[in-house]
Symmetry: C2
Subunit: 257 residues, 2 copies
DNA sequence: CGACGGCTTGAGCTTGCTCAAGTTCAGTGG
DNA sequence: CCACTGAACTTGAGCAAGCTCAAGCCGTCG
């Protein structure tokens, strides 16, 4: 199980257990640590067995024990309100830290569900807090991480505030692309792990609208869409729409709609 | 300037400078501290002169130095996107901590604007970090504070996801009411410090819609509306609408719309 | 192969947006 | 003190973006 160099599609799969060897360390807790400190971190972090698609990592209301770092795969976080309606709060890719919502009350405020087979590092919050007292860099990094999630949510709020549905979808696709670029993956090829329904919910619309918009972006030459496999053909045009360019025409240099 | 006992409308105005004597301490950083630790905190916290309505506390992009705790008055935080559109991210009342968005990058990610004459405590982040290392309770409290803001934003995201405008407004009014209750103020009387436009922006609609909804809630006997002075007449009905009760009729026991 | 879930596409309708006119109120100056 | 002004708010009418409902398609899995 430790050596599986056969799977070279994503080199993340080759990662060994230790934080020092992890390709994600720049995005994760050890970002600012020196080697010695990293070893101490290594002692408390463990890798879990993979979670299968559709399974829960934690549930709304569960007692808080661990933070998790996504190593491969992806998750969604969902808050379920009183009357049974769900709201997708975010999608979490490799390098993202999930579970920070629970720091406030010692209980998780949302449910985390794997969108595909997903591997994670488990970081016991108490343990990391204890060693963080002795490692100022780690302390700081923890603050930054929580705050980063906070800022991400604020950006999402700004997205939700935008009235036009096609702008919201463009922002979403662009952000996925940018996140892939940060992970050194092809930013033009999106392999969506989430359903149209998840995307729609996340962006505050219905899934039919998402589907129609994919069709429209395809017709306008912005995307190549094949179910969950999406190729960005015109990143600049997409960016223009995301930025709120008044007419999509200018953006795509096309006339059909 | 130190003694202005004339202003007894809100007893917050009578607060002395020290954290120990502050009526808000339960909501603020010192929540979990013992007396001795509080004295150390006192040393770094200072009270600023009031900010007038419409003035900025900090601007998007400004270098991060301080957190602020609202003592009296209120603020809005706003993110301005590329194409000039603004998004109101939140409203901040007495006891709220603002500025936490800047922890991620050492720069503020949004602009904070006073909605009325507002007094604040200024907490230098570096200083508090330094003493937090020695006071575990304070450390923990800082984490909780950031995480609390994060959770609040997630709740707001769930609100924005709800399709019906009247549900969003009901949630907003209910939350204002609940926050007033937590501050030991009359929860049925809302003195809105923000404009219809601010509310609309915050909830992702246009100001005319907010105005119309106030009218509808008034007609349905839920509210008494007099410009910015709003009295909640039927809190339970409002809660039902906020929770997504399918028909407003049931909630308000009225027929007119 | 059939059945099911996820997706696409169409037609019609409703909510909330746009544009526009009118009202109220606080503040200002005569 | 009152008239004037401008900002904030209210209200109306018409329109369209996106929702609802519905039917059909495609790919996967048992």
């Amino acid at each position: 199980m430790t050596k599986r160099s056969s799977e070279n599609v994503v080199d993340i799969a080759q990662l060994r257990r230790s934080c020092g060897a992890c390709a994600l360390s720049q995005l994760c807790l050890p970002a600012t640590l020196v080697h010695d400190d990293m070893l101490r971190l290594d002692k408390v972090v463990s890798t879990q067995r993979p979670i299968e698609a559709g399974h829960e990592l934690y549930t709304d209301g569960a007692v808080f024990h661990n933070l998790y770092v996504v190593r491969s795969g992806s998750l969604k976080t969902v808050s379920n309100s009183a009357n049974g309606t769900e709201q997708v709060l975010g999608f979490h890719l490799a390098g993202d830290v999930v579970g920070l919502d629970a720091v406030a009350n010692d209980r998780h405020q949302c449910t985390a569900i794997a969108l595909e087979r997903t591997t994670l590092c488990e970081v016991p919050f108490n343990a990391i807090n204890t060693i963080a007292v002795q490692i100022p860099g780690l302390q700081q990094q923890l603050y930054r991480l929580i705050s980063r999630e906070f800022v991400r949510d604020q950006q999402h709020l700004s997205t939700m505030g935008r009235k036009q549905a096609h702008e919201r979808l463009a922002i979403f696709l662009k952000s996925l692309s940018d996140r892939r670029r940060a992970l050194k993956l092809d930013p033009m090829l999106l392999d969506l792990s989430m359903s149209r329904d998840d995307i729609a919910n996340y962006l505050g619309m219905v899934f039919e609208t998402v589907s129609r918009l994919f069709g429209r972006f395809r017709d306008d030459g912005l995307l190549e869409v094949n179910r969950r496999s999406v190729r960005i053909l015109d990143y600049d045009a997409l960016s223009l729409i995301a930025a709120g360019s008044q007419d999509e025409q200018t953006a795509s240099q096309k006339k059909a709609r």
